[in-house]
Amino acid sequence: MPDAPHPAAGNGAADGSANGNGAATGGGAAEAGITAGRHGQHAGAGSASGTEGRRAGPDAERPVAATTLDDATSRLTEAGAGQALTELLSGFIVELRTAGLPVSLTENLDAMQAIQHIPVGDRSAFKYALGATLVKNAAHWRVFETVFEVYFSLRGREYALTDEQAAAMADLDELLSEMQSDQQGEQQGAGGVGDSMTPEELAEMLMKALAQGNEAMLKALARQAVRRYAGMEPGRPVGGTYYLYRTLRNLDLDGVMDKLMQQAREQAPEPLTPFEERLERDEYESRVDQLRKEIEAEIRRRLVADRGVEAMARTLRKPLPEDVDFMHASREEMASLRKAIYPLTRKLAVRLARKRRHGRKGPLDFRSTVRHSLSTGGVPIEPRFRYPRPSKPEIFVVADISGSVAAFARFTLHLVYAISNQFSKVRAFVFIDGIDEVTRLFEGTEDIGEAVHRVNTEADVIWVDGHSDYGHAFEVFWQRYGKDVGPKTTVLLLGDARNNYHATQSWVVKEMQHRARHVYWLNPEPRSYWDTGDSIIGEYATHCDGVFECRNLRQLERFVDHLV
């Protein structure tokens, strides 16, 4: 790499970022001021549930925790941060654990230690210090961030709610007059801004802030918009989404977006090419997105101030990606699930490929034999052998893609696709009441979206009426492909076993079990629903090597672990 040192460029960039940073921390120092003061009541609540959390932990560790925490506290007090921070922090950690993050005692102590090395005023450094010590999985970062914002959102001048009006106004006034001097009095004279602004003026300011990408301005406007449009009243039992909706409806961001694009088109000396237009749009979209985040944060801050940290943390709690139910996953959650599947299939591949090591011998390992002969003075008493090459497992995936398991089926197809990337011999079958092999559809393409689409449109899976008929599907499977099932084959059956009261034909599964290496069944229904109504999972289960409830990634992972 041409890493020729380019001091000018490098330093220039560094200076720029250092300055930007300085400005940010200027505000941050005041804002973070992680002092006890006005948070007495929340910290109190934190310690109450802190006890609860410790009760949940292993008994033996409790005294250690107590002493060390005290220790940490005393040191923190010296550092000027105060007892309240420690208590707030332990409440914070309890909340993380309740949200499902596996925070161990060691990590808790690491966090305590880490924040001592961080300048007290630096809010973002504080956040990263906690993140690095407490969160060890990138997928958990979002949950961490939400809890962090709730617990540490009310610190300092910028967010102080008592004199918030004044402070916010001052900020906004400053910014507005700044902008006006920039624009050479295109608007009315200074003064009379802030609350007295008409909605039209606010919208205009917003346009300008977005067009210029002025972050401070966006922040001030988000605050102003929430105060004006959200209609928040203390004690009103409404969720944050309601306020968000009200605010966004009034701002009409889609309309703003169109206007921005229009403006960009007009300002360009020549008409924009589609390519340029797309880049412009992406730029504005990211700014609008930032505004939306600012608004969300502002609403959250106000809700926390109104209802208290504990209550807000509870309402905002989101499931971790691995706890999201396949059947009810949103689009966004589905996307993150898809990313999470790949490491899991790799693990599955390793597990399935592993042979029992003892008892099997391969060819003589000369190097190892000589190496070990040293203990007997160079006489090779104990010959060493190479381990046999791991065998290549064959996998047959037989998946129900009927309507009752539609969401699961979509996930299943992604899983099948991921698996077929890991193994050389994967055959995929889908069925409703008829069955069809779809291996070729996965092989032909590199785009999973297209493969899933083709499975849904091209596979011949309807025999009579398009209601699941496991019995018929299995029977046909056995007639057509039964001879291919051999001692190397692992069969994965995916479905809810809701058979619409058709014949079970469970002898097929029994035959499969005889001939295949393993037969496993993954069921996307909660265990309590099994064998109710037309579910006949119990009848198939007697012939499987294992039946697993598989509603989220955590359970899927447990299944993979079980395969050892």
Binding site: M1, D3, A4, P5, H6, A9, G10, N11, A13, A14, S17, A18, N21, S104, D110, Q113, A114, H117, I118, D122, A125, Y128, G131, A132, T133, K136, N137, A138, W141, A211, Q212, G213, A264, P269, E270, P271, L272, T273, P274, F275, E277, R278, L279, E280, D282, E283, S286, Y342, P343, R346, K347, V350, V370, L374, G377, G378, T445, E446, D447, G449
Partner: protein, 319 residues
């Protein structure tokens, strides 16, 4: 564990870095543009004497971070490349059995006693140090890079645990070798599999993602000498747009840099759709991705017929 004193306490006065901004500045001097999180965690790793587990998509500068930190702290970089099948004898240490064998043969003629030979062949002289032991035994400051730790099997991970938590290696025949100085340890992972809890617990966790627009532009400016501000800006904007598509493999920072260099060599000053599509194979490595990106970038081309005719227009920045 008999030695309760953490190595950290003995060396508490020899910190490498003054403050978070200092880390950031010195990294910038060697052309590694760290964001706040990266600099903060490097600083903490030094202060707490803990290893850093760096995770993120390929080509986001995880390995480069370790190299750059070694450079700014004037330390020697010791690298252990992980792969499937890595074992103790390649990661920690191995007895040089050929030499041992020779020694035994030689001793046999001299009629040396049993004890002499035993003491002899299990001494330092016959020990082959591998990267991990080498990092522990080094006299001078070192940065230990354990690259792509997710490639080793779960069982092999256990090899690392003693080093990561106590900075020591136990050799049954010799005893425990404790670190003379606390090495700064970086482990990188592409997250192809979940690492064990035990390993993660011992590390500070740093997730390095694709940089945001400003940072990527700065990286391009720093790493591609001679590029104009305007071109760097366009490059990073286009890459951001491409990353938003759902691709098999999104363009990494190193691919962005390759692309920027290519454009510079081709003498391109304004990137239009045709140029972008023509050089997309540098950014994207799968044919399906290239097809998808091409389709996206040329979208609506039919609507802007007259616009497409005048390709290579000055590209308007809004700021």
């Amino acid at each position: 564990m008999t030695d309760t004193a953490h190595p950290d306490t003995a060396h508490s006065d020899t910190h490498r870095f003054e403050s978070v901004p200092a880390v950031r500045e010195s990294l910038a001097k060697v052309d590694y543009l760290a964001d706040e999180g990266i600099a903060g965690i490097v600083y903490l790793a030094d202060r707490l004497g803990k290893p850093v587990l760096v995770e993120g998509p390929a080509g986001t500068g995880k390995t480069q971070l370790a190299k750059s930190v070694a450079e700014i702290s004037g330390a020697r970089l010791i690298r252990l490349q992980c792969y499937e099948g890595l074992d103790e004898s390649k990661a920690l240490y191995e007895w040089n059995y050929k030499k041992q064998l020779l020694r035994i043969q030689a001793e046999r003629n001299d009629g040396a006693t049993w004890a002499d030979v035993e003491d002899d062949i299990f001494s330092d002289e016959f020990l082959l140090t591998r990267p991990l032991l080498e990092a522990i035994r080094a006299e001078e400051p070192v940065v230990l890079l354990i690259d792509e730790v997710d490639r080793v099997e779960v069982e092999t991970e256990a090899l690392l645990l003693e080093i990561l938590s106590d900075y020591q290696v136990s050799i049954p025949e010799l005893g425990t070798v404790t670190a003379r100085q606390v090495p700064l340890v970086f482990l990188t992972s592409n997250n192809t599999r979940e690492l064990s809890e035990a390993l993660k617990r011992r590390c500070l966790f740093l997730h390095v993602d694709y940089p945001d627009l400003e940072r990527e532009r700065e990286i391009v400016m720093a790493k591609v000498p001679g590029i104009t501000q305007n071109l760097a800006d366009q490059v990073s904007r286009i890459v951001r747009s491409i990353r938003q598509l759902e691709l098999k493999k999104a363009p990494s920072v190193s691919e962005t840099l390759d692309w920027a260099r290519t454009l510079l060599l081709l003498g391109v000053e304004q990137v239009d759709a045709a140029t972008a599509v023509g050089t997309a194979n540098i950014l994207l490595k799968y044919q399906s991705d290239i097809t998808k990106a091409t389709k996206e970038l040329e979208q609506d081309a039919s609507l802007g017929g007259e616009a497409a005719a005048g390709a290579g227009k000055p590209w308007q920045r809004n700021a």
